[in-house]
């Protein structure tokens, strides 16, 4: 919100220079976003619009912070007008208080240059003396006000809910259709303004206006907020009302306006009405020094607290604080404590180690599992990717307000993000090995942790093999007892500890391979412990078998054939070589078998016997030929 430094200084004459003022204000009250010439852009927090969204409010903060005196603002009691003005608040109109004063304009008057200057600093255009004075009251004391041309008001003022479909044209020419949830200021024939938001054209004051009706009112914050959001019309007034204000302020605003307009236009108040159905009760909170110490860790006694609170406008009787009416944000002890500690100085808080029982920290299990899994993949050369959680997933839960149509759905898998990552990086890296661990979404309010990995490399490097091997290695590192793969069409289903957890797929050209698994299922299978198995002191023996295999025969079947023989002490079967011979429609395959016994050194004769059986089985297989 824009403020004029010189106007604040007028109210607090000994105010320090801008920079120092801004620094202290930032520590104890509000951040200052920008200083430009006389203008200070002060970030009023949502709870303090009620009292600090005005120069008088900031002046009080300044006076309190620097221990200075603020000059009171001069007012004229509106009740000097003698006659009653007809004002009616209909039931349920969401109007808390309505002060109306009718007055005759003594002369056209002119806006004084100082007022124009302050308005301009605050980003408000000068329009006419009456409007300028009312806008000035708003920036000065924080009360939004309005003036109607009294001769255009037929009968008295009525505050009521709008009729269904009721139309209104505002003074800036905007046309709005209202609903019975919206409140209007009206006369007996027509709506004159949208309550708390903007005045209407029907009773707009003009150069020819002779008599005016001034409005200083207060409305229910939720009502104003909702109407303003629905009709998409936000004004200085609607923002102030939307944050909530005290009805007591309506009088301050009116008294100040009368004073200014008397000086500027010689207005003569004729009649007034102050409809205030439920007077705001006074609020009292006890300052409890012991409770304050417990909350903040700082000792501030009653006397010290009283000095601070008085400066802020609280009335103190002993340790009982009467809350200033406009401070609707202060309603419990903690609020009062905040007022004291921020002015006393948050810097006075000294670090104090908490005293607690030693109960071990218990992380959610997924936290440790996630870390372990990420480290497993990074440990075998995979780089971690973090992708957006939303994108083009038409099967996924849909966002109501996406940033773009391509990012309108929550992701249902991680693989798509990894594919995009490969696309982004393929020009910089030939071999890409990446993974992601993140949430995927199964429906509205339904999500689960997922883990995915992808490999991209030259076709001869078989990314599928690299990925499958990586999954096996990673699974071992995260404590999966047994990892199995089962081909299902073009997909490879991945089982961990006997349960299906995910799958491996490969792009049509074989350039990219992808793995994804339900991390929560995987976690349940990773909780086993590996037990010690004796390490054989006897040598291992290696044998290679080289084959020609027809393209139509999957290598997986050859491995099955080898395993089906059930050779004793056959410890490992691995693919040692694999190269396509496209011309002849076959693949050269070398399988490496490792034999080892835990009990003795195996003889060549024993192994040869098993090798003969294995070769026999292989030769019997269709499309397989021993090289």
């Amino acid at each position: 919100m824009k403020f004029s430094y010189s106007l604040i200084k007028e109210m607090v004459p000994n105010l320090p220079a801008k920079a120092k003022f801004a620094d202290e204000l930032a520590l104890k009250s509000f951040e200052v976003d920008e200083i430009s010439g006389d203008m200070m852009d002060i970030k009023i927090t949502a709870n303090r619009w009620c009292d600090a969204a005005s120069h008088a409010g900031i002046a009080r903060e300044a006076a309190t912070i620097f221990g200075l005196r603020a000059i009171p603002i001069k007012t004229t009691d509106f009740k000097k007008a003698k006659k009653p003005l007809g004002v009616k608040l209909e039931k349920g109109s969401d109007c808390c208080r309505y002060i109306g004063v009718s007055a005759e304009l003594g002369k056209k008057g002119a806006t004084p240059p100082w007022m124009k200057k302050y308005l301009m600093t605050c980003g408000i255009r000068s329009i006419s003396p009456v409007v300028d004075a009312l806008n000035y009251v708003m920036i000065e004391v924080g009360q939004p006000m309005h003036a109607f041309d009294a001769d255009k008001v037929e009968g008295g003022i009525i505050v009521r809910k709008a009729f269904k479909g009721e139309k209104i044209t505002t003074i800036d020419g905007g046309e709005y259709e209202l609903t019975p949830n919206d409140t209007v200021i009206a006369d007996k024939k027509k709506a004159l303004g949208i309550a708390g938001i903007k005045g209407g054209e029907a009773a707009e004051i003009t150069g020819g206006t002779k008599r005016i009706i001034l409005e200083s009112a207060n409305f229910d914050l939720v009502s104003v907020y909702r109407t303003s959001k629905r009709i998409k019309l936000e004004t200085d007034a609607s923002r102030r009302y939307g944050h909530g204000m005290s009805s007591e302020k309506a009088k301050t605003g009116m008294d100040r306006a009368i004073r200014l307009l008397t000086e500027m236009c010689f207005i003569k108040p004729v009649a007034f009405s102050d409809v205030y159905p439920v007077k705001e009760p006074k609020k009292f909170i006890k300052y409890d020094a012991e409770r304050f110490r417990r909350l903040t860790g700082v000792a501030v006694d009653k006397a010290q607290a009283s000095i601070i609170l008085r400066k802020l406008g609280f009335k103190m009787k002993g340790d009982i604080a009467e809350i200033p009416a406009e401070r609707i944000d202060v309603s419990i002890f903690e609020d009062l404590a905040e007022e004291v500690i921020r002015i006393y100085g948050l810097d006075e808080i000294e670090a104090q180690a908490p005293v607690i029982s030693i109960i071990p920290a218990h992380n959610d299990p997924i936290i440790g599992f996630r870390e372990k899994t990420k480290r497993a993949f990074a440990g075998i050369g995979f780089d971690e990717i973090i992708s957006y959680s939303f994108g083009d997933y038409p099967e996924g839960p849909e966002l109501a307000n996406p940033i773009s149509q391509e990012k309108a759905f929550m992701r249902t898998n991680l693989v798509k993000g990894l594919d995009e990552a490969i696309e982004k990086n393929r020009r910089s890296f030939t071999e890409i090995k990446i993974f992601e661990f993140g949430k995927v979404f199964d429906g509205i309010g339904k999500e689960h942790w997922s883990v995915a990995a992808a490999v991209r490399s030259g076709a001869r490097d078989y990314p599928l093999r690299t990925l499958r091997g990586a999954v096996e290695a990673a699974f071992r590192r995260i404590g999966i007892g047994e990892t199995e793969f089962a081909a299902e069409g073009k997909k490879l289903k991945v089982k961990a500890g006997g349960e299906l957890v995910g799958e491996i797929t490969v792009s049509k050209n074989g350039e990219r391979a992808f793995f994804e698994a339900d991390a929560e299922k995987l976690m349940k299978k990773s909780e086993g412990k590996f037990e010690y198995e004796p390490i054989s002191p006897y040598p291992s023996m290696m044998r290679d078998v080289s084959l020609w295999v027809k393209d139509s025969v999957p290598v997986g079947e050859i491995f099955e054939t080898v395993n089906a023989v059930g050779a004793d002490d056959l410890n490992d079967v691995d693919l040692a070589d694999y190269y396509p011979d496209a011309e002849n429609g076959r693949v050269g395959v070398t399988i490496r078998l490792v034999f080892q016994s835990p009990e003795r050194t195996l003889t060549d004769a024993e192994i040869d016997a098993w090798m003969d059986k294995i070769k026999g089985s292989l030769e019997a297989q269709k499309g397989v030929e021993i090289r």
Partner: protein
């Protein structure tokens, strides 16, 4: 078996060789072109059947390679050759995988808080309106809600709850308190979302760390201790100062902004904190007369940006491996 015997014997002789002449003799004996034992064995392959050849060939080859290599190293040793022991040779590049800087930062944050007895909790990224807002004293139709620009999920007619992408990790606090009694201290680290235009300091997908400590007398002074300790360990700079500035967040009272100053440079804004608002405690069924405590929330990216001098928040989720591989 014969071959193993040859291997063992050759090994012993290589070890025993003490001069260039001796090792040269060993080479001739085993690998000599004319009568070397291994050479002979290889030559004899041609008289074997195909099956025997396939069987024996690779074994002899392997033995030959082993002996060749052992002799070569011994020769290097005896000749005092420079190439093997030139310790100025550049290292051979070894690639390892890289954890995203966010993960590394998260791990570090977790390590520090675990060491201070804070448990780490996880919670949903797609939240309901109640846990993200109402339970945290952020009512509907109040401008305070505008502090969080929100991604809303499309709802169907008849849906009882409105869902959104959590705008902060604070709902994890609420969920934890709903099922646990104090005292306790927890943190939660995770992905959060804000509906806003992206630039060097704003991203729609980012990460937060949230902390909560509840006890009988847990105070702002305790928070200052915990958070100072955290920053000291996290930034590991010579001096780390912490200050509070008055601020407002609906779920705390008093509320503060936390700034740090590293090594006497300028103050940096880190995030919000304060004493948990009694309304929040009441919403989860705690009696605010008995329990009190502090809560805080910081941006994980912001912590990483400051520590590692990253110029742009968008790099973290850019999927750019050139960035990932730098850390």
């Amino acid at each position: 078996m014969e071959f193993e015997e040859i291997g063992k014997r050759a090994g012993n002789e290589i070890d025993a060789a003490a001069t260039a002449e001796e090792i040269s003799a060993v080479r001739v004996k085993y690998l000599g072109r004319k009568q070397g034992e291994i050479t002979e064995a290889l030559r004899s392959l041609k008289d074997m059947s195909e099956a025997e050849k396939r069987e024996t060939g690779p074994r002899i080859q392997k033995l030959r390679d082993e002996i060749e290599s052992a002799i070569a190293f011994k020769e290097e040793e005896l000749n005092n050759s420079a190439s093997a022991t030139d310790i100025t040779l550049p290292g051979k590049r070894t690639e390892s995988g890289h954890l995203n800087l966010i993960t590394q930062t998260e791990d570090e944050i977790r390590r520090i808080f675990n060491s201070m007895n804070f448990s780490v909790m996880d919670g949903p990224e797609m939240e309901d309106e109640y846990h993200n807002f109402d339970a945290l004293n952020i009512p509907d139709s109040h401008p305070a809600r505008e502090m969080w620009d929100t991604f809303w999920m499309k709802s169907k007619e008849g849906d009882k709850k409105r869902y959104l992408l959590r705008t902060h990790t604070s709902p994890v606090q609420v969920r934890y308190m709903e099922r646990r009694d104090p005292p306790f201290q927890i943190i939660s680290i995770g992905k959060t979302f804000r509906y806003e235009a992206t630039d060097a300091t704003h991203e729609t997908n980012f990460h937060q760390v949230e902390g909560l400590m509840i006890g009988r007398e847990v105070s702002l002074a305790n928070f200052k201790f915990v958070i100072s300790e955290f920053f000291r360990q996290f930034f590991s700079e010579k001096t780390v100062e912490v200050r509070f500035r008055s601020s407002y967040f609906p779920f705390v009272e008093p509320g503060v902004e936390v700034d740090v100053k590293l090594d006497n440079s300028r103050w940096l804004e880190m995030g919000g904190a304060g004493m948990v608002h009694p309304k929040v405690l009441k919403a989860v069924g705690y009696n605010p007369k008995d329990w009190q405590g502090f809560a805080f929330g910081f941006g994980v990216e912001r912590l990483a940006i400051i520590k590692h001098k990253v110029p742009d928040i968008r790099l973290f989720e850019s999927q750019d491996l050139k960035f990932t591989k730098k850390f």
